[in-house]
Symmetry: C2
Subunit: 343 residues, 2 copies
DNA sequence: TTGTAAGCGTTATCAT
DNA sequence: ATGATAACGCTTACAA
């Protein structure tokens, strides 16, 4: 047939395809593909012609076709338990900042601290054949664990290190952080110490565990001073739990909160009740959220390296994806005690 | 060839395909496809066999193949200016809650209040051929605007209504909200009123505009009492701007903050300086973030219907996608003045 | 270095 | 109601 109707390479409707770019550049589609991806060796002159044509046409590769043909997408899936905690938002930002420049899309999955939701997200996102996975912590369903393993897709675990033997993980020891909190409060001469935690994910529990062990070592652990609730962490909840604790155990002289929002709520409630912080009760938060240093009194907190965790985890994943040597599989980024006015 | 090697339908490696499901159910692939999608009419008995086979195999459709074949993905792209503002996180949650049950993936794009970033995200996400688009506000590059229009993909605009003639939008009038803020402060007998805004996106500006117009109408507008900065909104910044305002204009007796975090910072700074709120200065915030009602004094704020905006916008988009009748193209969800202790 | 041919897994189209 | 066939747009062989 001489007539070019239905000729793919000259179609003028819809988005431009690789065929059209190739035709305009006077090369074969595969050469255009190679030139645009910068792989293989394409003569610089041809490559330039292709890039030119693509740009003139406003060509953007069809990710579906690409993923189908190569059995690989350009996406990386990141699963976090919450977006209401600034912690994860900051981590996500850092991840973006290293992955986007590499041409990778970042698929964000929020599983709301629910293992089932996480499992579903993993199943769904795995179907996209992502290049890599960034997961939070080690706590998940058996089924989710198996899917990840069976997929063979590179995966880096963020936030915790304590049970990550054999896995690539970037974070800090939640146990040690809890212990550091206890030691700090102890060093302030406080001995009736409480731990207040919400959400009750693995990491909150681990922090409490580290805190408890340190107190036991110091011989002043009192199980009655552990206040835990599965309710989501919030400023309002922090105030409530603070009140409850003071009512039931008025002798408490130091409190470690599993997250800064709880501690902030306690500070606010203390002000309302005229409870002197830190004189009557020392308050220590966790994560050092941006607003904490502006509280009255300024909140002491344990600063966690959330940006660094995101960045390093993404970098490690990149190395894994590209088959480059990965340094330490377990990256301990530590934490920093910020002593301010509340403790 | 009698030998079945390379027979697609019996391959046992990698993820199961539609072919394998079909073979196991004893039907053709297209019937399996139809049964699984619940479209067209497939005999209930066959459909059941297919579902059974799929479930046994743990079949999950390949979204790339699906998108390529149908020229449509199952994704909806949502673009927000920030995730650091709880406002957008709550909106996203609501969107998820209506779209996920419909089998739609939600692609989150954070453009950091940058028009260029937004344009890039639009270009990228459009390549995925999403079923719909959820955008924030009306402020974007010409190029972005054209891409959206040319794509023909259904789009709903969130948050603002003031310049959305002819578009599907769900939100409230930022102008009216600003005016309401002024009227409230005026009704409290305050006349030296300031507006403090950060980030300077369209909506912040519009709020200021509404506030200003109301003051002009009341005959007490003073341009010196408008403090604007492009820096990102935060508690720390709120404290700074509050100090700056008091230093340069000690006579101010009421301040409207463009976002609650700024107002919270002001409250905290006021406490530090011994400035009585609301006696010396009334403080009114915006958005009514969850922690605002726990501030000391409790922060008065304008509560914006962020969850409802997300939900209704998603529902409207769904209607558009399914070609169902859309009610009002412009949905005004209003706002609510929460008068607490700070004003 | 470039191109040809085939196929990735699904759905649209058109038969039956 | 079900199926055969041909795309969808790209990339992986492999060949030249």
């Amino acid at each position: 047939m001489a007539s070019p109707k239905n000729d793919k390479s000259t179609r003028t409707t819809g988005r431009p395809t690789l065929n059209e770019v190739a035709r305009r550049a006077g090369v074969s589609p595969i050469t255009a593909s190679r030139a645009l991806r910068g792989v293989s060796t394409v003569a610089e002159e041809l490559a330039e012609r292709v890039r030119q044509a693509a740009s003139e046409l406003g060509y953007v590769a069809n990710p579906a076709a690409r993923a189908l043909a190569s059995a690989q997408s350009h996406a990386v899936a990141v699963l976090v338990p919450s977006l209401s905690n600034q912690l994860f938002v900051d981590t996500l930002e850092a991840i973006h900042s290293v992955l986007r420049p590499q041409g990778l899309e970042v698929l964000i999955g929020n599983f709301h601290y629910s293992r089932d939701e996480e499992e579903n997200l993993i199943r769904n996102y795995l179907a996209y054949q992502p290049r890599g996975l960034l997961l939070t912590g080690f706590e998940r369903t058996e089924s989710a664990r198996r899917m990840v393993e069976a997929s063979g897709i590179p995966c880096v675990y963020m936030m915790d290190l304590d049970h990550g033997a054999g896995l690539h993980c970037v974070g800090f020891s939640q146990l040690s952080a809890g212990a550091a909190a206890a030691e700090h409060l102890l060093s302030r001469g406080r001995h009736r110490l409480a731990y207040v935690g919400a959400q009750l994910d693995q990491r909150t529990l681990l922090r409490g565990e580290g805190f408890r062990r340190a107190l036991q070592k110091a011989g002043c652990y009192d199980p009655a001073l552990e206040l835990l609730t599965p309710r989501p962490s919030s400023v309002g909840l922090g105030g409530e739990m603070f009140s409850q604790l003071l009512a039931s155990h008025p002798q408490v002289d130091g409190i470690f909160f599993g997250n800064d929002d709880l501690a902030q709520g306690a500070l606010l409630e203390a002000m309302r009740r005229g409870v002197k912080i830190p004189e009557q009760v020392a308050v220590l938060g966790f994560n050092d959220l941006p607003s904490s240093e502006f509280m009255v009194p300024r909140l002491s907190s344990i600063r966690t390296p959330r940006e660094a965790i995101g960045r390093r985890a993404a970098e490690q994943l990149l190395a894994l994806i590209n088959g480059k040597p990965v340094g330490e599989p377990v990256l301990d980024l530590g934490f920093e005690l910020k002593v301010r006015e509340s403790s």
